[in-house]
C-alpha cells in the first residue's frame, strides 16, 4: 500500500499531499503543508502544543493518523487572524501578556477558540478545563485564563454592538494590581 494522497480542507483551503503511512496530522501540517504554528512538544498527546481543530473540535494533532481524517476540515492558528487582523483571543493574549516563550501559545489559542465557539460565555472553570491538556511551563496559567475570559467578553461585546465594532478591551478585569485568581 505505502504512501497515499490525502485531501483535507485546511483553514478553508482544499489541500492535497502525499503522506507516508503512519504520518500524523501534525507532521503533515508541518512537513507537507508548511504550517508551523502547531508544535511538537512530546508526540505523545501529553503537552497540547500541537492542538488544532478537526471538524471544529480540538484534538492533539500528533495522535491523528492523517489517512483516517480524509476530507476533514482542519483549522490551525495560521487560519485564525482574518485579513491580517488579530481575532479577540489573539488580541487578548497580546494585551494580557499571556505569552512568554510562545511554544504553547498556538495550542492554547486553538483550545480557547474551540471553547468560545461552543460557549461564548464560559466560566473560569470552563476555561480551566478547556486548557487542561495544554502545558505551559512559563506563565503559571493565570494570565492565560484571564486572557481567554477577556477574549470571550470582547467577542460578546463585538457581537452585541452589531458585530462590526472593533474589539475593545473591557478593562473590568484589567489588573487591579493584586493578582487575579
Amino acid at each position: 500500500m505505502g504512501s497515499q494522497i490525502v485531501s483535507l480542507v485546511v483553514n478553508d483551503q482544499r489541500r492535497e499531499f502525499i503522506a507516508r503511512p503512519g504520518t500524523s496530522l501534525l507532521s503533515a501540517l508541518r512537513e507537507s503543508l508548511g504550517l508551523m504554528a502547531a508544535k511538537r512538544g512530546c508526540g505523545q498527546g501529553t503537552c497540547g502544543t500541537c492542538t488544532v481543530l478537526v471538524d471544529d473540535r480540538p484534538v492533539m494533532s500528533c495522535l491523528v493518523a492523517v489517512e483516517t481524517i480524509e476530507g476533514a476540515s482542519v483549522r490551525t492558528l495560521e487560519g485564525v487572524a482574518r485579513g491580517g487582523e488579530l481575532d479577540e483571543v489573539q488580541s487578548a493574549f497580546v494585551d494580557g501578556f499571556a505569552t512568554q516563550c510562545g511554544f504553547c501559545t498556538a495550542g492554547m489559542i486553538m483550545s480557547a477558540e474551540a471553547l468560545l465557539e461552543r460557549d461564548p460565555d464560559p466560566s473560569r472553570e470552563d476555561v480551566v478545563e478547556a486548557i487542561s491538556g495544554n502545558v505551559c511551563r512559563c506563565t503559571g496559567y493565570a494570565s492565560i485564563v484571564a486572557a481567554i475570559l477577556d477574549a470571550a467578553r470582547r467577542r460578546r461585546d463585538a457581537a452585541s454592538s452589531g458585530g462590526d465594532a472593533p474589539a475593545v478591551p473591557a478593562g473590568s478585569e484589567a489588573a487591579d494590581g493584586a493578582g487575579v485568581r
Binding site: M1, P58, T68
Partner: protein
C-alpha cells in the same frame, strides 16, 4: 515502521484487515503515541474511525455505544448524563475528542477509567473477528483481551436507576491525571439498606477489578460511614496495587477505603 494505514468503511472490511495481523485502533491516543516513538510492534494500522461503529443508541434502558464513539460524544449525550462527571475526570478535551470507548478497554492501568465504569455497569462487549461476531462480559475482555484478529465493535449496558450510580476518581491533581484510586459503582438500596452492589476499582491493579469483598460486606447493610470504611478495608483483598510515577502501591492500598467511602457517601 508503518507500511499501511487502513481506514475500512465497514466492520466486515475491518475484520478482513484485522485477520491479516494489523493493529486495530480507535482514536489513536495509544497507538499513534507508539507510532511516533517508533515503538509499535505492528506495521499496519486499521482505524475504526469510518467503520460504522460510532454512535450511541438508546433502546429503553439499554444503551449501545459503538466502539469508535469518543468520550466527547458521551459527554454530549443527554441519555448518558450520569457518566458526564466521570468523563470529565479523564485526560483533557483534545484527548477526549479522540479517545474511544473501545480503545479504553485495552489501556493499561492506571489509565482506562471508562473501562472501570463499564465494569461497574456490567457491560457486555460486542466483538467482531474471524469467527464472526460474539458477545462477552466486560470482565472477560478486561482479563483476557480479545483473540488475534478480533476487535471490539460496541459495548452495551443498562442505564442504572436514578440514585444508584456512584463515581469518584482520586487524582494527583484536579484535572488531567491518571487514577490513584477510581471507584465506579451501581448500588441499589431499599429502606436504607444495600440490596445489591457492583463496585469496580481502577488504579489499584493491573486491570480494573471488582471489589467483590466490599460488595459482599455492604449487602444487607446501610450506606454509612463506618460500614463503608469496613467495606473499604475489605476491598484491599481484591486489589493488586503497583508503584508508578503517580503513587506507590502502599499509598493506593492505604487510601482505598477513604475513596471507596467518598465515592458512595460524597
Amino acid at each position: 515502521m508503518i507500511t499501511a494505514v487502513r481506514v475500512p468503511d465497514s466492520v466486515a472490511a475491518a475484520a478482513t484487515y484485522a485477520a491479516a495481523g494489523g493493529r486495530v485502533m480507535g482514536g489513536g491516543t495509544i497507538v499513534m503515541a507508539q507510532v511516533n516513538s517508533g515503538s509499535l510492534a505492528e506495521t499496519e494500522l486499521i482505524s475504526l474511525r469510518k467503520a460504522g461503529v460510532s454512535g450511541i443508541r438508546v433502546d429503553g434502558r439499554v444503551v449501545r455505544i459503538g466502539a469508535a464513539t469518543t468520550f466527547a460524544d458521551i459527554e454530549r449525550s443527554p441519555e448518558l448524563a450520569f457518566l458526564h462527571a466521570a468523563m470529565r475526570t479523564i485526560a483533557s478535551p483534545p484527548i477526549r475528542n479522540l479517545a474511544t470507548v473501545g480503545g479504553n478497554l485495552f489501556v493499561p492501568q492506571p489509565y482506562g477509567d471508562f473501562a472501570v465504569c463499564l465494569l461497574a455497569l456490567g457491560a457486555t462487549v460486542e466483538i467482531a473477528g474471524p469467527g464472526g461476531p460474539r458477545r462477552a462480559p466486560v470482565e472477560d475482555v478486561l482479563t483476557a483481551g480479545v483473540a488475534q484478529g478480533e476487535f471490539v465493535t460496541a459495548v452495551a449496558l443498562s442505564l442504572p436507576a436514578a440514585g444508584t450510580w456512584f463515581h469518584h476518581k482520586a487524582m494527583r491533581r484536579k484535572l488531567n491525571s491518571a487514577a490513584i484510586v477510581a471507584v465506579a459503582a451501581v448500588v441499589d438500596t431499599a429502606d436504607g439498606v444495600v440490596t445489591s452492589a457492583r463496585i469496580a476499582l481502577g488504579g489499584v491493579a493491573p486491570r480494573p477489578v471488582r471489589a467483590v469483598s466490599a460488595e459482599r460486606l455492604l449487602t444487607g447493610r446501610p450506606l454509612e460511614h463506618d460500614v463503608l470504611n469496613e467495606a473499604g478495608r475489605a476491598a484491599r483483598a481484591d486489589i493488586a496495587p503497583f508503584d508508578d510515577a503517580y503513587a506507590s502501591a502502599w499509598y493506593r492500598r492505604r487510601v482505598l477505603p477513604v475513596h471507596l467511602r467518598r465515592a458512595l457517601l460524597g
